[in-house]
Amino acid sequence: MAYSFHYKTINDPVHGAIGLSEVEARLIATPTFLRLMGLRQLGLTYMVFPGATHTRFAHSIGSMHVISRMIDAINNRCQTDALDFQIDDPTKQKLRLAALLHDVGHYPLSHTTESVFYQVANDKKASDQFEETDPVQPSHQTALNEMVSVGKIEEVSHEELSKKIVSKRKDIKDILETAEYDPDEIGKIITSEEGSNKLHSQLIHSTLDADRIDFLLRDSHFCGVSYGRVDINFIISNLRYDKISSMFAVDDKAIPAFEHYLLGRYFMYNNVYYHKTGQGFDLMASTLYYQMACEKQAVGDFNEVVNKMEEDAWFLRFDDSYFWRSLHDWNPEHEYHKDLREHLLERIPLRVLCEERKLVPHGESANNHFVLNQDDQFDSRKFNKLLEGYGLGQDSVAIKSERTKLEVSPGRTDYQESVSDEDKRELGRVYEDFEFKDLIAVEHGIIRKLTDFTPHIRRLYAFDRKLTKIERQKFKRPRINRQMFEKDFRKVFNLSD
């Protein structure tokens, strides 16, 4: 069977002409895949960066193109080095399909509501093993800080939903099976299941994978910032295969470009993904969606999505518009949520009252480095008094903390070669001094130095619900002045300026 990856061509603003095989062209035309046109790649980021309206649809096609280029580069290098290894066309097609379909399970507003699915799953976890004597009733959740960061829960992640969609949604499944591809196998490549091929997992899920390369370039392009404009062409053309570890690595001359790529990601996180105003909208949206899920006004349970996944009328509208429709249709029980909802609908941002940025040495608890935290050392009496002075209640503020990613953890102090395969993928592999190694083992590398620290940002957000609509229109400036608040905050907690 001859493979053609140029059955059709699509023009892309980031990569130029992208060739498609016949099966890919058919998959892209399915209603399931077209649903991605309704999912913005960066959720609500467009409220801050107006150009960021690009979708998961374009990103998925871009990821497929990138993985193809990576495969071609690895094959070419193996030929040049007379290494007896090639990724053949059938395997290349499978990997292209996995990259194309890796995001079909994204939730509305992408990662914004995914955090709610984690939260709901965390609430439900092991519920038959424990009894709660005084459970918090959903209807009493009025605070902006009700959502806690529970971390990623693999079982309800969008990758897991993608796997389910690929193996269960009829339109996708039928096309794959007719073309003699096993939907379950494609699904397993997407989730990098234990036991699957190491190279395939690395191409789909690693520090330098097709997904991350595409979104770095694409997000940078559409947000109108330059941080992500790194020399991807040079990195890709310098990939080589290590037969012993069955992984690819970046050749020594492209190590600086690889480091630039990681730093580009870091700056994108710092300046775009964790932008103060964008994160504020994200906090509002996730708080509201969690409340809607608790009140059964929106779906927050993974199993419910899976059960309804085959109903076209519901699932094909389960995109960003689902969030906005649910929000419009919802009549919140509490005034608090009514106000918050109105603020989001009118694009009135939360106010950042103060912000702390720290480089936390690896292995240390971040809380010891921040005044803004919720641990036992934090003097909440002082803090509440300060808030009161500004007319704010505890339910009107939230501390949001972010850890910016270099994604080459676990850091130099804990570093040792031969950690797990998953760690190896995250560390990034390079070829230097005639041997394959982790990027952070490169003595002269800048990344090696930077992994001793994890950059953290903590911000205190306030939702000033006391302002009436007329007042909001009247005051061009926010009622609470950040500079004044931060000054008072420093005074109360005896911090130097």
């Binding site: 976890k125 093993q129 424990f130 009894e131 709660e132 829960i153 919720q374 641990d375 036992d376 797990s420």
Partner: protein, 170 residues
């Protein structure tokens, strides 16, 4: 409030162990107690990968630090949680595993060894198969030379008697 942290606290109390992340041995105990509690049926959703001291979950370490940072709040909140009859039954298996330590090792070290054998047997997909000989070889080659061959063999025997060599779950 991370409800899982409250649940971990309840599990530790039930097993008469102190929930802490202060010392290395405390963190080791946290990792391995929750590892076996999950296989006993109390799935808190922590997923493990191989690390220097056997199966390890980064999310679980973070949960441990979350507890340590806000100890008094979590101690207060966890009093609202108690184990159900099913949960108590499941933890009996973990308690018996702790009590049946066939080595002279401290509890955390014994659980490290038991969890490492269990992980390599059922989860790691070892290229050389999952025979006792291969797993012993793998353990020793993965930097666990501080365990003697006798420790490994007697631990294997206990896990076999408890049915954990045949299948991953109790």
């Amino acid at each position: 409030m991370d409800k899982n942290v409250c649940r971990i606290k309840v599990i530790f109390e039930h097993l008469d162990k102190e929930f802490s992340v202060k010392e290395f041995s405390d963190r080791l105990l946290l990792q391995k107690l929750i590892y076996f509690s999950q296989f006993a049926g109390i799935d808190l959703g922590y997923r493990y990968s191989w690390y220097r001291f056997g199966p390890y979950s980064t999310d679980l370490t973070e949960a441990g630090y979350r507890y340590s940072d806000s100890k008094s709040s979590y101690d207060r909140e966890s009093s609202k949680f108690k184990l159900s009859a099913v949960g108590r039954d499941n933890l009996k298996k973990v308690r018996s595993l702790i009590e049946d330590n066939p080595t002279d090792l401290e509890t955390a070290d014994w659980l490290e060894l038991a969890a490492s054998i269990h992980y390599l047997k059922h989860i790691a997909h070892l290229p050389g198969g999952v025979s006792q000989d291969n797993i012993v070889e793998q353990l020793l080659s993965r930097g666990k030379e501080y365990f003697t061959k006798e420790d490994i063999d007697s631990s294997w025997g206990i896990l076999e008697r408890k049915g954990l060599i045949e299948r991953p779950n109790w």
